[in-house]
Symmetry: C2
Subunit: 342 residues, 2 copies
Amino acid sequence: MKSTIRPTIAIVAHKAEVSIATVSRVLNGTAPVDEATAARVRSAVADLNYLPQAAARTLASRRTNTLGLLLPEISGFFFQPLLRGVESATSEAGYDLMVHTTHKPLPGGIPRRPLAEHNTDGLLIFTDSVRLRELNRLSSINFPVVLLHQTPPKALGIPYVTIENRSGARKLVEHLITIHHCRRILFLRGPDGHEDSRLRENGYRDALKAHNLSLDSSLIKKGGFNRDEARATVEKILLDGLDFDAVFCGDDDSAVGALQALRQAGKKIPEGIALVGFDDQEFASTTTPPLTTVRAPTEQVGRDAVRMLVNLIQGQNVALRLVHPTELVIRESCGCNLVKRR
Amino acid sequence: MKSTIRPTIAIVAHKAEVSIATVSRVLNGTAPVDEATAARVRSAVADLNYLPQAAARTLASRRTNTLGLLLPEISGFFFQPLLRGVESATSEAGYDLMVHTTHKPLPGGIPRRPLAEHNTDGLLIFTDSVRLRELNRLSSINFPVVLLHQTPPKALGIPYVTIENRSGARKLVEHLITIHHCRRILFLRGPDGHEDSRLRENGYRDALKAHNLSLDSSLIKKGGFNRDEARATVEKILLDGLDFDAVFCGDDDSAVGALQALRQAGKKIPEGIALVGFDDQEFASTTTPPLTTVRAPTEQVGRDAVRMLVNLIQGQNVALRLVHPTELVIRESCGCNLVKRR
DNA sequence: CTGAAAGCGCTTACAG
DNA sequence: CTGAAAGCGCTTACAG
């Protein structure tokens, strides 16, 4: 912020021979202004390359005009479409976007609160990126918040948007059971306490139960929604000689890891073992074989969450819950559509 | 920003029985304060859950404490590590981060300037996301800017950070020529006017020249740094019956597209045609066959750019140019390391 | 349609 | 070490 003197509203006003109130009015369209006067203002603005200071505007108007997005991490294939949806919808709504990841909670002490009511008009919070205590605080001061992929603590009245995890997982596992006659389906679950992970596991259990397959808890292992973790898990399982005829990976990332481990061990997919993922990430169609998975409309989740947040900020009524449908995407890794290869 | 009344510095001061100046001093550590007094202030801050308004702070101090990142798009695998590097370094430096993509320049008229001197202390600008006119303006007011993957217009004196595109590409193509005896190497270039793309093409030409291979311009086609575009291009080439024994894809994204098209057409890779990419994106090790490519330290580019920008903002001297080395990553798609497969 | 003025909530010389 | 006060650059009643 060093540099040459920057024009202020007073300088523009002086140049256009009007009061600063009038400049403000033509810039914001907040009250009728004589057209000739407005034209003088506009030309002064252009000549001076005037840009109203956001901070002064915010202080006077009590609106930051920015939305905050809190994520546990910014990398990971999953966040790509989410970010795209959030960013474009935010921009279209005329807001600025601040992003912060909550990697490691700072040691020692005071939660830093990098994004909150002091610098945004509302917050989009992804699973696990904020402590319950802070969520309670935000809720208690009635600050606009929308949760992503996480049900809010009961009775907090915070709206959220997520996807149909449970039924999606169930349909996928049932496909394995009914079409491909799998009986011992390994499930690679996501991180502990992660809601998507828990619901997908429920869907898995639902499917087994619906087809009278008993649940073998030794078939539920950690995949961590993470390629490397999934690979390591499958490698170990193979060493242990666990018997299974299919793998339901908690997400597409872990599916890639599982695929690597299985192939490394000489297993054929899908002939020897069927494998399916979840999310339908962009790369899912390009693995070998192409991945059968469940399509999660992640970008749409981001867009809708922004829309809800903006409505909240504007004091409109908002649905407390928006759950996007998911859809089976049958490719080849389950054993369908098998094409002769060289 | 609706909601209950929020505590101000005056309320904290009153509760702690000090002046607002003292509250400010203990919060910012900007002057010595008696320890007992400071303790009273801290406890009042905690009791009231006081968060200083960023806008008021900015207005009074003339620092926004935020960095802006301007990108052409936020999706695309390439941007993942870049974002991660920028976000984490920004946070570590104690700044907030605003992100904006410049997808479609607004029709009609006035460039919106969503991120500039009115709401940030400095800008990180990725190739092609800002018009030259705006870059000139920022430079003329001496506003801190660091360019990513783009050489600034001559004599503007804007620092930039990028990678060794040309020599990286050259080494890669020379590998194809000397080790795998490729002679007709198709080059799938990136978007027009994109500096990374142009330099990689130069590297390609350098390699041919160094080995006395004549340049066949019919072997240079559009890949667009884009999977779908690359796939379409290769499909067309195959139809046209163009003769080639290797493909140098401008980036790993286009490599995936080329791979799909070639496999679809029954070509064996690398036995029939060698294929290489650029960037070493996260998925490069998991394609089939694993992709030989050039490692670009994209996350590091992001981190260093932030470091330079922060130095600039603080008025320190900064190198005008930081070029990260790239490194050959030999996997299997070029024909090396061939493992017997079933 | 227009202006004078108060006020948003902080930081920062200036005094003591 | 501490406080009173000016000032940052806007928006927004209030008057006219």
